[in-house]
């Protein structure tokens, strides 16, 4: 299920400026908690952004990406009012999709 992302997508000329703030623990599997026990790995492995049925970004992620990461990217070929959809999948096979209308 995951927690909701916050997606902002703004048209700047013919380029969409997208910012995606994700709510994810991004545990590396190397960190120990206060009692000294290893915290199990749990991180996003794949991010896919699509618009008008087309993939505009596909990224393979690993444990070195920060907790609650902010992903910024730009792409062409969209108009105001189109929907940008972002999906992540993580190392525990959890997945989450959120959408935003391009403004």
């Amino acid at each position: 299920m995951g927690n909701p992302m916050r997606i902002r997508a703004k048209l700047d000329g013919d380029v969409v400026d997208a910012k995606v703030l994700m709510n994810h623990a991004m545990e590396t599997g190397q960190r120990k908690d206060a009692s000294g026990a290893l915290v199990p790995a749990h991180y996003i492995t794949k991010v896919i952004a699509s618009c008008n049925g087309k993939t505009v970004l596909e990224a393979d992620w690993g444990p070195s990406v920060s907790r609650n990461p902010l992903l910024g990217f730009r792409f062409r070929g969209a108009a105001a009012g189109d929907t940008l959809s972002v999906t992540w999948t993580d190392s525990m096979n959890d997945t989450r999709t959120d959408e935003a209308v391009i403004g």
Binding site: N3, L21, N23, A25, E27, D33, S66, N68, L70
Partner: protein, 272 residues
């Protein structure tokens, strides 16, 4: 005395070596990587996730009494959240003492919701999946004072006493290193490692130090409160552990907040 002189001499040497090695990097004394990072993040502060969770916690019936915190009086009347954080710490007649935000939240959890104190305090600081209600609630309440002017008057003998105690503690040297808070926070324009350390004993520095807390701590991926900040500085000062919500912690917070009066609140902020 001898030990103190030696420390100063070593610190002086280290500083000389550092300037020699990196004079180019230090050419701009205003260099502030954390501010740069903040600018890159823009309006995207992950603290927002804590604010959302805090708001849900505030309005959800919880505890043995199964009531929400919506009747919690943060100082401006039951249920008033807007602007409340800009007037904390303050004296609460119903409790007979000065309370800061976290202590007041604890008070409401215990008295309104019937949650046992020890249980409420178990996760006073969050760690990954073990989330802290305090950090979420504090983020939510602070957000409701964003843009407001901090006004913490010493309008009551208890507030005067808390301020005086906080001030005394701020300058009190103790522990294995003979540090006081002022050792690290009593000068303007100096830094430790890459951290620009504010001079909390004067208004400008106190405002910089106070107005952004609670804050999302990037290095920990957690929202931390002023109670957390102070106990971590106690650790850095090699003092015994600072009790959450203790008289000492509230006195220090009162000292910093009163010095910071006039600050425009900008919490939850973002810190290293």
């Amino acid at each position: 005395m001898i030990a103190r002189h030696r420390t100063r001499a070593i610190a002086g040497l280290a500083f000389a070596a550092l300037t020699a090695a990196s004079s180019i990097v230090l050419a701009q004394p205003e260099d502030d990587p954390v501010a740069e990072y903040r600018a890159m993040m823009g309006d995207d502060n992950p603290a927002e996730f804590w604010v959302m969770r805090g708001e849900a916690l505030w309005t959800t019936p919880r505890g043995p009494a199964s009531v929400s915190l919506e009747q919690c009086d943060l100082g401006m009347g039951p249920g008033v959240v807007k602007g409340a954080y800009a007037h904390l710490p303050r004296y609460f007649a119903d409790a007979g003492e000065v309370m800061d935000l976290e202590t007041r939240l604890l008070h409401c959890m215990v008295t309104l919701q019937g949650i046992p104190r020890e249980e409420a305090l178990k996760q006073r600081f969050g760690d990954g999946a073990r989330e802290s209600d305090f950090e979420a609630l504090a983020a939510f309440v602070a957000e409701e004072s964003r843009g407001q002017m901090l006004d913490v008057p010493l309008d009551n003998p208890a507030m005067e006493k808390a301020y005086a105690l906080g001030k005394e503690m701020f300058f009190y040297r103790a522990g294995t290193h003979d540090f006081s808070c002022a050792t690290c926070h009593g000068q303007t324009g100096v830094r430790i490692r890459l951290q620009q350390l504010p001079n909390i004993s004067e208004a400008e520095g106190a405002r910089a130090a106070y107005s952004g807390w609670p804050a999302y701590r990037v290095s920990q991926g957690e929202v931390r409160t002023m109670q957390w900040r102070l106990q971590d500085c106690f650790r850095q000062q090699r003092l015994p552990q600072l009790e959450f919500g203790s008289e000492a912690s509230i006195a220090l917070t009162t000292y910093i907040a009163h010095n910071a009066n006039g600050a425009v609140m900008d919490a939850p902020g973002m810190k290293r």
